[in-house]
Symmetry: none
Subunit: 240 residues, 2 copies
Amino acid sequence: MPNPTAAMLVIGDEILSGRTRDANMHHLAGRLTEAGIDLREVRVVSDDAAAIVAAVRALSDAFDHVFTSGGIGPTHDDITADAIAEAFGVAIDIREDARALMAAHYEKSGLEFNAARLRMARIPDGAALIENPVSVAPGFSLRNVHVMAGVPAIFEAMVQSVLPTLTGGAPLISETLRIDRGEGDIAGPLAELARAYPDLSMGSYPFQRDGKYGANVVIRGQDGAMVREALARLGEVFAR
Amino acid sequence: MPNPTAAMLVIGDEILSGRTRDANMHHLAGRLTEAGIDLREVRVVSDDAAAIVAAVRALSDAFDHVFTSGGIGPTHDDITADAIAEAFGVAIDIREDARALMAAHYEKSGLEFNAARLRMARIPDGAALIENPVSVAPGFSLRNVHVMAGVPAIFEAMVQSVLPTLTGGAPLISETLRIDRGEGDIAGPLAELARAYPDLSMGSYPFQRDGKYGANVVIRGQDGAMVREALARLGEVFAR
């Protein structure tokens, strides 16, 4: 059976302006690969309701799972929860279990549970909460869309909360061979090998390090023995 | 008048699998912001022709400019140029000026200009080449889509080549000088030259080839005579 597919939607003007470098995409990509879920597409859009709604609808239709990052904090530009509700045509309001969790947390920590913080208890109808062990204000899953915070420590904790609830596939076995030749010298033998192993995926990732050209050739597949066999054949070509 | 809008399309399985952390999005975001071009959306897709074609068409229709990163190297999984040609319904073939540039470069550097490397001279009909001062194999612009390599040093040099053509002002004159010294030797004189010519833009793109360190220094400006004068002064410094 093919692995489930996924897309990610990163929401935030600060990424698009170059002010902040996104870290969540790389984290999620690694976690999904471990879980046997194929991340097929990522989109980054600004804090704009129409852009978020359009992206959520497109990605939710096209993939098994959608993971969002950003725009669920307490400030006026955090509009992700409302945009998700709009995308699916459901109502959104303060939800009692979310409010109670947050009230207990702020009570204990001495922080004021003000109107801004209360906005974070607004959850679209029909959603399941995603636990946030870092700062309590929850994320949520609505249909196949998992809505999480953008702050990396919180995003990562929410991914940790939601991933075990999803059915993954067979994890991909991946082996890498570093070849200290220009990619143009590697391309021919690699293409030949790719034709010989149609069930494996092969990629070449060139680098220039300390002034030297080379490439990391990565071979991936669900059959570990086949992956290692192909890698050994490639190694023989360049050992000559 | 509102700023022109832009989108970026990052192409590469290695980003989506979590193997590689993308660096080009953050770089481009900063450069576009400096240039007064609004980056509105980024998409990351895999090395899959249908996914690239669909994203190119959607982004090219919706935004003034589209910048792509990745998939234009010599290996079998580098399919971006073909996908761009398909997206716009134009033919693609080896282009003589690109081939000649690369032949001269490989001749000088002693690398074999084999079939894999020749693939990098395949350019869609009607495209303009984007200069690559790092490794010569060019990018290209077709309509409003600017197609660049994924290796960060090359991507950044190509952005540097193409951005000045998008300002809508007088065309920028660009001259390149290859200097066979380590970049640490070049930095001092280059900084001094940059202070002496505040109207010119100067960039240095280091390489190590056949064990030798060097850099291509690119000088750009709107006054061609001034660009050539500055280049001559730099040449004198390193002729000593």
